[in-house]
């Protein structure tokens, strides 16, 4: 991440090469190497399935009694983040799972980076693999999320849009800047040597531009996740994806 500072300056200097990124929309998969794509394509070689397996065991133990087979949640992940009128807030899929644990099972909440939460959200996400992302463009959250996406932030004074729209396809410290579509989370990231949520990914980008990192349960995190989901509407769920 330290190298981002100098490289971001170099990226900005490349403004002549800026391409209008928006269409066609490319997922991070399209921008990955063939080796990384092959890893994602083969469930027997995608390390994220170690978490899916853990999720199946947890599901049978804690969730099946109410929900039945995990397959009954097909299509659910594609609709998140979702406004919950009862709680009067926008919920990410992870927050919905934690809500089931605390409110319906009387169990303690999972921390945002708990491996069990990654395992369960990978399992629930997998049920929607291949379906088009279809989150409701709910206001005021959507506009809040878009504002966060376009606002210049951090010591590097860069917005998400400056990288993921204006400079998508260019390179930054060895990585291709993707369009930043959140189609495959939680995902196995090779750099992490492990699984991570969308929040973890966003935290990496915020740290990269030396911006203040908003908390996992903050309204900002959920609003930004909603904007990303609506921006990627119609793209296919890839969960659990493999990313460099």
């Amino acid at each position: 991440m330290k190298i981002w500072a100098s490289l971001a300056a170099a990226v900005l200097a490349l403004s002549a090469a800026i391409s209008p990124a928006a269409e066609p929309r490319r997922s991070g998969y399209d921008d990955s190497s063939r080796e990384t794509q092959a890893m994602q394509d083969d469930d027997a070689g995608n390390p994220a399935f170690l978490w899916v397996r853990q999720g199946e065991a947890l599901w049978d133990q804690d969730c099946k009694g109410c929900h039945g087979a995990a397959g009954t949640l097909r299509g659910v992940a594609a609709r998140y983040p979702l406004f919950d009128p009862r709680a009067n807030r926008l919920l990410t899929l992870e927050q919905r799972i934690v809500q089931c644990r605390t409110d319906r099972m009387g169990a303690p909440a999972f921390a945002w980076d708990d491996e069990r939460l990654l395992a369960l959200s990978a399992l629930v996400g997998l049920q929607s693999r291949g379906l088009p992302l279809n989150a409701e463009p709910r206001e005021p959250f959507l506009s809040q999320g878009e504002a966060l996406f376009r606002e210049r932030i951090g010591q590097l004074n860069l917005s998400c849009a400056q990288c993921h729209e204006e400079r998508a396809g260019l390179r930054l410290s060895g990585a291709t800047i993707p369009q930043g579509h959140a189609t495959g989370y939680p995902a196995y990231r090779l750099e992490w040597q492990g699984m991570g949520s969308l929040y973890r990914r966003l935290r990496n980008c915020l740290n990269g531009v030396r911006a203040e990192v908003f908390a996992p349960d903050s309204p900002e995190a959920a609003a930004l996740a909603l904007y990303l989901a609506v921006r990627a509407k119609g793209m296919r769920v890839e969960t659990p994806a493999v990313r460099p």
Binding site: M39, N46, P47, F49, L50, Q193, G194
Partner: protein, 106 residues
């Protein structure tokens, strides 16, 4: 090593090589890294792997650092009859994990 996924074709043909694919959850700590306090993180890798088919050795391997966390292994074997594939992994902590999978010759 709390999770091992083994992928063997549902049915294999007698005498024809088939592919076995394995994923193992393991940190594969190389021993080359330091923590935030500058202390060396001790090496902890799977250092030995044995695959047997009905008691007959199929593959035995020593592993060394520079293999990623949660490694993926794949190799081919040939079966003359249905049997049980037994996989044993040993790591630097001395933990041994044994897993089995059925091989069905059809």
């Amino acid at each position: 090593m709390d999770r091992v996924l083994i992928n063997v074709p549902k049915q294999v043909t007698r005498g024809v090589p088939f592919e076995i694919k394995i994923l193992v959850s393991h940190p594969m700590e190389s021993g080359q890294r330091r923590d935030q306090m500058g202390q060396a993180i001790p090496r902890d890798i799977i250092n030995h792997f044995v695959a047997m088919l009905d008691g007959e050795l199929v593959l035995e391997a020593d592993f060394f650092p520079a293999i990623s966390a949660n490694p993926f292994l794949s190799f081919s074997a040939v079966a003359e009859k249905s049997g049980i594939l037994t996989l044993a992994f040993t790591d630097d902590k001395g933990e041994v994990r044994t897993e089995t999978a059925a091989v069905t010759v059809g």
